[in-house]
Amino acid sequence: MAVGSRTKLKHPGKLGYSFTRHLRERFIELLLFLAALFSVGITIAIVVMLVKESLIFFQHVSIWEFLTGTQWTPLFDDAKYGILPLLSGTLVSSMVALLVAIPLGTIIAIYLSEFAPFSVREVAKPFLELLGGVPTIVYGYFALLFVTPILQIIFPELPGFNLLSAGLVMGIMIIPYVSSLTEDAMRAVPMNLREGSYAMGATRLQTAVRVVMPAAFSGIAAAYILGISRAVGETMVVAIAAGMQPNFTWNPMEPAATITAYIVQVSLGDLPHGSVGYQTIFAAGLTLLLLTLVFNIIGHLLRKYYREIY
């Protein structure tokens, strides 16, 4: 630009500068920033809310009793506040679910990523995605009125509400999460690793299990962890199919309540705001959140240590 023309400008040195335009740009950026910040606000609100109500709860009940008590009867006259029965119900149903979801999900992922022809993958992937979109309450109905009667033919003494059927259906429900993330991780492994393996005379299965899976380990671990969090936090399937009676057991053939089912049970009743019963669901929720947090941290560490960079 010629030096002489600059003097004629309104804002010397700031060609095309407009104050209102600048202000609008900053204002919009601020709005967008606040939207992003809002998500952090949600996390803080969750933690504050759960901790605040739980603190009041732990003024009535000692943490030791809460963690070691084997009876959970907060709504009875003779109230007992031991979380272990709810914890055992949660862990047993999650274990059953994971015993279904992790092997099947992994096999499906290996099949789709390493074996299946393009056309099968193009159809199977969206189908699995649809399966993951079915509302959980529908799976609950299916567990109670389809899977339990079938299981009762095999095990005649199985009660109508049981952790087994809830866990099995939950496992099927989680398969799409496990398989799609595992497959994504495996497909992200560069082709030349596979080519190297094939060149050494390995079969597809050997390549998949010994080359691709170790290389994709961090992604596969993330998929498993997500599956675990889903199983632990799943609510409606267990609330419908496993019954809502707290029961300290490790036997999947028995009815039992999970942490989530207990929260549902209390919410269905009419508990006054501020009562101990009202605070129990926040203490139970905090336990659940910490449980999923532990799994997420493990997953994060696994990913950090085993991350392969190409």
Binding site: R21, I42, L50, F115, V138, F142, I172
Partner: protein, 308 residues
Amino acid sequence: MKTEKNIKEIRRMIARHKRWDLIFLVTGIFALMIAVLTFVALFAQMVIDGMPRLTWDFFISFPSRHPESAGILSAWVGTTLVMLVTAFSAVPLGIGAGIYLEEYAAKNIFTEIIEINVTNLAGVPSIIYGLLALGLFVYQLGFGQSILAAGLALALLILPIVIVATREAIRSIPVTIREGAYALGATKWQTVSDHILPYSSAGILTGVIIGLARAIGETAPIITIGALTFIAFLPPSPVKSEFPFISFEWLEAPFTVMPIQMFNWVSRPEEEFQFNAAAAGLILVVMTLTMNGLAIYLRYRMRKNIKW
């Protein structure tokens, strides 16, 4: 002699490995079939039990103590209104946050915290959102057990889905588009609103649809905020005959939604109510499948049509 034996052994080994390959192939197809057949069984069960109940009356009747005259009028109206609140709060917030993280945010610790936070929020069990809504919206802010509280609870739940979808859609736009806009003197916001948003709209829409499909089927958070299961009336109409013609009274009304209605029927001991539950479940499944199918179709078309 020795080499011949070796060759034989190697051939056997190769045959064995190939056999395992085949066995796994069959196992893989079998595993996929288990998932497929479960879905078929689930759908068939819903159709067989629920189809006879799917009459016009079922859609325009209130719940009732008599299973054969009970319907889902209050449930589907409730679901529609709750979804309105959810969409109107989660979509702008989610897209805004996505744009900020992708286009504006500087690479610093603060941005990283927001990013990790969004990932973690997606893994929080839905019932925890219900507890948050119960404590915050229902009691602290005094919204009560209303459509507003339920809609906001579900909005928080699907916010991470919308944010992630927005970011992915924006990330797929090549940087040359931005450089072109800047070269012509566009400001950041002009670039975003005139180029980035229109080009990523299909991807964002996909995410929004998937999020809303998830919200329609969510039961746990709505039970937690204490929604009533027996509602035999409709919320006040949003349209009024006198000025200003629009009313927001419905936001504060008690309500029920489809999954809650279904849960209520499943928990009843009488078998006839199970058929109602199946009918409601069938509608829910068809609705969520249609929405998810639409999203998958949109994504498929996008992938095929857009070549940068």
